[in-house]
Symmetry: C2
Subunit: 920 residues, 2 copies
């Protein structure tokens, strides 16, 4: 019977594995094989496959039959390749044993170096190298690692120190030296003995002198490390299945610490921070790999090798070119120089910042290394944020943190950097801004009436609310920096101050918030808008002058070539609409009319309408709002031109518009000429236990049809006006919170009646659609009824998530952390669409809706519309467009392109004209 193959050898320009065998050989093993195959100098060795690990776990931690024999055979090959023999007393082969899973799990699993040393072979090594200190240091490291990892001599509690380190310290104390490097060969030989003694006495078993016992023990230990607590936690966090298992790489040791002509280094084939096309790394002479990382000695920039060892440097540059040409991506490599010979110990795709990812992807297309399609797949859509947000000076921030100025950490709700003086009310924010101050608005939570204050602030900091709280949502739509849900703030509105970490921050004190990290820092830090924003929005830079902008532009261009999903913006105001167009919006997917209700005198008219005793009173107040609302639409239509604009009729519960303080109530009462008691009584009547599920959305329009009437009139009068100006306007009226087809029908009839009246009066007609939000489970399951009259659907995934999960996003802070921590949610359902729950209802809605109206236009305008995984899901569902806040449009465009590429769809519509596209 042919035995199952568990071992794949590499060495001498030939390997049994290759790069695409990562599932079997792990990332490290596959790439060692690949490097061997393409002729790079890799020390010989072999990889024990992940299948052996899987076997190990499914058979009570036993090796598969025949594995031991196969290891011996493969090791024989290694011996003949390097001309050394394992356990030999003349020229002993030393081995490294390293883990290597399919996905990178840095630092999670174990490694043992210098296997094969024992009390005898160490002497042979001395004889061979003439370097006793090197030999004993290697032996010392082996015993220490082996004693810890394989034999399990560890600190007994978290408070204890490592027993081996304690022995080393005692030795240094005895010898009166400070550094390990000051210890002599004799000291190290002594340490080996002391280590072995400690193992024997504390564990009751001896450090194995048999190299083979060492090897098998090490392999078993690496397998076992797959199931250590750290590895399990890491896998859970990164969604890596336990079934994958780890491979084990057994490889001949090479030494960068044998003195002259020796060294070791790590490098990136390009700059991982900026993406610049330069060889970027560090090296240490006479050192082992771990020393570079440990930071005992300061490594030198790899460029300096050119002076010292020009041949090695040239060789490294050649390796760099070879690797990039071969892997067609930036690589993160480890190398060792042993006596003037270069060895490659690892290569893998290098981690990089968003800046770097985008630049490298675009550059590599220019260099013809990859195609635009590949480039698109190389960038995480969220990384685009780094190109759009204002930035802090990183050094300055680091210094501040080191000086103890980090006050707190909240949720990174609105990426970017903002600095300014603390204010605690929206009114203060506006007032301070007007007199030229930059302010950070700090609130327990924000509400719609804070909008203008939020707009005036550089950034928003809240104590409550999650990633999709009002503050976070509005901040992202505005492109504002926001740190939300920062629970450790104790805000005292009355005293205009907050307490955090024993600091009292008063109104006017400066703070800085980093919405990309969630950090809140005492004092000011320097910020500036990103280049892309300066070019696109502020028109400050000559586009050509900014490489970053140019890179961004390319990526967006390619994205638009590949995506089939349309992108629209959630925008309520002309200036937001301008930003939206700059960021590529093909229309507005959600224009929230309520945000328009807070400006200037409007709120008075709104409140008068709400508090009116009867319909005629409401109509009087609405008549005051009509011209203002109409003007809003006129301005938005003018900006958006022939692009569709979806306008949602009034959605939030009316009590959100009412005043809160006694003073405001008094003021309002006198303004609208009723008693304070009447205002209070009406407010008490309007109080709701669960406003989310109360009188809002289309329910308002059904109870007060005159509101829908006024809004429809404003929309259509504005549309007629701009049409007369020559704009081919496309309003789409959207009814929110529909659960029953009859709700939609009532509202739709009002809209159509008013439209007809306005067109008649203006002697002009405008094409328009009437559609609905799908944001209640009932709307999803009765979508076939609703689609008989609704001309489009737009998924309101925020509310749909809240109702489907029975979960108020504003109230989830008390348990959401536990839910994420316990893995109850695979991801925050308010960030990424919950496919199994909300997604199933969306599927039902799409299927039922299109079953009665084949051409039903379907979009999504919840916050998920700008989140890459959700965009991918929408693409799979066959949704026509996603709509998101303007600053997330580039992310949506890239995510949409990636979804199209993943689905292998062709760019079907992109060949048609722009005008045609916009009309969809």
């Amino acid at each position: 019977m042919k035995q199952h193959k568990y071992i794949y050898s590499f060495g001498g320009k030939k390997a049994e594995g290759k790069a695409d065998m990562k599932a079997l050989l792990g990332g490290k093993g596959a790439n060692l094989a690949e490097m061997t195959n393409i002729g790079l100098p890799v020390p010989a060795g072999f990889t024990i496959s992940t299948e052996a690990c899987t076997y190990y776990y499914s058979h009570a931690r036993r090796f598969p039959a025949g594995l031991n024999g196969a290891i011996r055979t493969s090791l024989g090959t290694v011996e003949s390749r390097v001309g050394k023999t394992f356990g030999d007393l003349e020229n002993p082969l030393l081995l490294s044993v390293r883990s290597g899973a399919r996905a990178s799990m840095p630092g999670m699993m174990d490694t043992i170096l210098n296997l094969g040393l024992n009390d005898e072979t160490v002497k042979a090594l001395i004889r061979k190298t003439g370097n006793a200190r090197f030999a004993y240091d290697s032996y010392r490291r082996l015993v220490q690692m082996y004693g810890d990892v394989v034999m399990g001599l560890k600190p007994e509690s978290e408070n204890e120190r490592d027993p081996f380190e304690l022995i080393i310290e005692e030795k240094k104390r005895q010898r009166g030296v400070e550094h390990d490097t000051d210890l002599t060969a004799e000291d190290l030989a002594d340490l080996v003995k002391l280590f072995q003694h400690a193992i024997a006495t504390k564990l009751g078993k001896k450090f194995p002198q048999d190299p083979w016992e060492q090897l098998f023990g090490a392999i078993g230990a690496v397998f076992s490390s797959w199931m250590n607590d750290r590895a399990i936690a890491y896998r859970r966090l990164n969604h890596i299945p336990a079934e994958w298992g780890t491979a084990v790489n057994v490889q001949a040791m090479v030494f960068g610490n044998m003195g002259e002509n020796c060294g070791t280094g790590v490098a990136f084939t390009r700059n991982p921070s900026t993406g610049e096309n330069e060889f970027y790394g560090e090296y240490l002479l006479d050192a082992q790999g771990e020393d570079v990382v440990a930071g005992v000695r300061t490594p030198l920039p790899v460029a300096l090798l050119a002076d010292r060892y020009p041949k090695i440097h040239t060789q490294l540059l050649k390796v760099r070119r070879t690797l990039e040409r071969h892997f067609r991506d930036m690589q993160d490599i480890e190398f060792t120089i042993e006596k003037g010979t270069l060895y490659m110990l690892q290569t893998r795709t290098g981690k990089r910042t968003g800046f770097a990812a985008i630049r490298i992807a675009v550059d590599m297309v220019k260099e013809r290394l990859i195609t635009p399609k590949e480039a698109l797949m190389r960038v995480e859509p969220e990384q685009l944020n780094q190109l759009l947000r204002p930035v802090f000076d990183l050094d300055q921030k680091r210094q501040a943190v080191e000086n103890g100025r980090l006050l707190a950490k909240g949720l990174n709700a609105g990426p970017g950097a903002a600095t300014g003086k603390v204010v605690f009310t929206a009114a203060d924010a506006e007032e301070w801004k007007e007199r030229g101050e930059r302010v950070i608005l700090v609130r327990i939570e924000t509400s719609p009436e804070d909008i203008k204050g939020m707009d005036a602030a550089e950034g928003i900091l809240t104590a409550r609310g999650g990633m999709t709280s009002h503050a976070a949502l509005v901040a992202r739509q505005m492109g504002k920096v926001c740190v939300a849900g920062c629970g450790s703030l104790e805000i005292d509105y009355a005293m205009r101050r907050m307490m955090v970490k024993n600091n009292i921050i008063r109104q006017g004190d400066a703070i800085s918030i980093d919405g990309t990290t969630g950090e809140v820092i005492l004092g000011e830090l320097m910020t500036r808008p990103s280049d892309v924003v300066r070019v696109l929005i502020q028109k400050e830079l000559d586009p050509g002058a900014s490489e970053v902008y140019e890179t961004f532009r390319k990526l967006m261009l390619w994205s638009d070539q590949f995506r089939s999903l349309r992108v629209r913006a959630n925008a309520d105001q002309p200036d937001q609409s301008l930003v939206a167009i700059a960021f590529g919006a093909e229309g507005i997917g959600l224009c929230r009319t309520e945000h328009m209700f807070f400006g200037g005198d409007r709120i008075d008219a709104v409140r008068e309408m709400i508090l009116a005793a009867d319909e005629s009173g409401r109509r009087r107040a609405l008549a005051k709002l009509l011209p203002m609302q109409r003007q809003d639409f006129v301005e938005i239509f003018r900006v958006m031109k022939d692009r569709p604009v979806t306008i949602r009729t009034l959605d939030p519960p009316l009590h959100e518009f009412l005043p809160h303080t006694e003073r405001e109530i008094d003021l309002l009462a006198s303004k609208i000429g009723v008693s304070r008691e009447q205002v209070n009584m009406r407010m008490a009547q309007m109080k709701e236990f669960n406003p989310m599920l109360g009188n809002r959305g289309c329910r308002l329009g059904i109870v007060f049809p005159e509101i829908t009437e006024m809004q429809s009139r404003a929309i259509f009068e504005a549309a007629c006006q701009v049409k007369k100006e020559g704009i081919d306007v496309h309003p789409e009226v959207m009814i929110p919170l529909v659960g029953f087809v009859n709700e939609f029908k009532e509202e739709e009839q009002i809209v159509r009646r008013v439209a007809a009246e306005v067109f008649q009066a203006n002697q002009i007609k405008v094409k328009y659609l009437v559609g609905t939000m799908i944001e209640l489970p009932r709307a999803a399951v009765t979508a076939d009824e609703i689609a008989t009259i609704a001309e489009f659907f737009s998924f309101g995934t925020n509310d749909l998530t809240q109702t489907t999960l029975g979960l108020s996003r504003d109230d989830s802070a008390t348990f959401l952390p536990q839910y994420l921590d316990h893995g109850i949610f695979e991801q925050d359902p308010f960030q990424t669409i919950d496919r199994k729950g909300v997604g199933v209802l969306m599927e039902i809605a799409v299927q039922k809706g299109r079953s009665v109206r084949k051409t039903l236009k379907i979009g999504i305008c919840g916050e998920h519309g700008g989140e890459p995984k959700s965009v991918a899901f929408c693409s799979e569902l066959g949704v026509d467009y996603v709509s998101c806040s303007p600053y997330r449009l580039p992310i949506a465009r890239l995510a949409a392109a990636q979804a199209a590429i993943t689905a292998g769809t062709r760019p079907a519509v992109k060949n048609s004209s722009n005008a045609k596209r916009r009309k969809r």
Copy 2:
């Protein structure tokens, strides 16, 4: 070509139609035919079918071709049958034309009598009858009805009086008489002229003298009346499709107003109030049908006919027997006696009270008129309420209303009658009750902490909240009388008073509330518990002594024989459990543990737990609760014996348990030894925007696993204790508000671990199940995941409705009336399961749940569990049991039987033993 048959004749013991042709002939026409066929004296005539009406509406209000000819032919038959001729100048036939739809629509459509009279035939009628007054009165009636109904001479506005009545009044004024009956033949002849003149001048067309024109006009008018506003409104209210159309009955007139030996009457074949088997009706001598109803003269009991016209009386009794034997149900009849000859003008199934419905159904089984199965289908399940609720003395109530003591009308949320002194707080209710007062608890709304006060009160009256508000829900579970959502009350807690309709009601004033009608009445009214309750619950009457009880018992017995759905009760306390068993509960489907948290010292421990700074503080408080909670379960288990008891772990948000007033807060702070500020701060932290969607249900147990632990321990320790007493206890632990399988898994693991520990400690094992509520849309769509570990599902249709519809039942009062009125909801979704929305999700849950666990036990424990249409839906869905408040159990049992009968299912399980049944 054979013409379509639109006309069905009857008369002379032979009819072309019969009773089961109601769809074609309408109820009246079909029953006239049937009466003719079984030999009853019906004046000859014919029915124009509903198909003609349908044709009429689908062809621009034109008659089908040939209909006119067919009418002439059929009328010929009538003429020959009665020996009179239409329009004849010697012996003129007069006709009535009446509508008659498939479903009874009393008073909604039009009728015209005495057709065929004109200026000539009226003289012939005088000659023939020798009664000029009768002839002119008949003619006067014709012109008046025809002018109104067919020609359309009506008041021009709602404020105007009928033009014909004005003419009559003017005539009476001229003649100086008071009653119509005082007008002479000449006066009436004059009125005919005046009427005709008014028609001619006001409408510009003449009253038709041609009898045929009269007839066709009348038939068209009856068809048209199908679409009058009243009829449309009535159909919408009663879910009658417009497509049905009405039939038209054309029939020879008979006259009860021709003097001596003449009369007319209406009667029920049994007493429609009590169901007693007695002939029950009224008659008037020398009168037409409308006079009986009009109340101008006081009719006499039909029994009195026996003295005056014994032959007629005997004949009527025979008719009564014939009709009951034939129709096998109580009939509502109209008859006329013309010159000593009895004519039957109508028979139909008689409307009856709940009492009567039940008694008649049971009696008719005794009389072998119907089978038990038929008897079950004869009773509306809700009618059983009338047998269970306390009752007011009706005369006394009527008097009170007449005296202006009706204060307000709210929702009839908890049927029954209650009277007592007004109190405004739960504490007062308890205190007053203790000193022997009967009280009505009046609250703006109730909350869980009012439970004990509600229990102490005779009835509950609230100003806010709907049919499924907290007050309504708890009241029904307790069997308390409740009037909810009585918006016109202005309650002032501080002053301990309420204002309503200019009355100030102070604490201690007596009011009476009728939870069956929603009436609130000033002052005391007499009440008493129903017989059934006195027998079953209070054990006051000898069962045999109460006929009502015996009737109830029979109906329940039959229900249990036919139903296949199990019934369980929602009960939290031993006394409720006793009531539940008395009403037939086969288990407890929902034991809400939170209701147990409010008694005595418990609430202190609960609050201490909530406000604890850390887990150990919570555990200390929970340890105090454990013995109390355990004792609750012991007592419930003892009552329920071997029946399953489903216990739900803590569900409501914790802030519901916290105090509200400053005084209470101070008291609590000192009791648990923390500062008032700390209590306030913790309370502020716990405030939620939407508590319905906040930290509640299983989320509590995940954040504070020690709560689930304590509750599990209490359940299993109690179970072990009663098992040792010899009770075969069956606890079922139910986890609320699960949306994610992992939520359930975490809680289930705690329950099972604690169970194992308790069994170990007690050296005894108890069989138990762990299951979940399905009350979130996400739970429904992921039921296949959840059912992999959940052993049972129980639909929480209250919350499932709220989340699916995005509708808080407590906040819906502002728009629910409009929604019902506009027909947006076909019915209140909190009363009847919304099949298209919530129902679809339930179907998905049942299908997905059973796809992975075939034997999955599924129940429903929302308020819908006791609502007949919802019970029927559950039966269709294949749910195993419904659970409802104890007082609704009889309703659920009957509804379940009806569902089984409707589905034609056999009583599959009922043959097995009781014990086996209970274990399911």
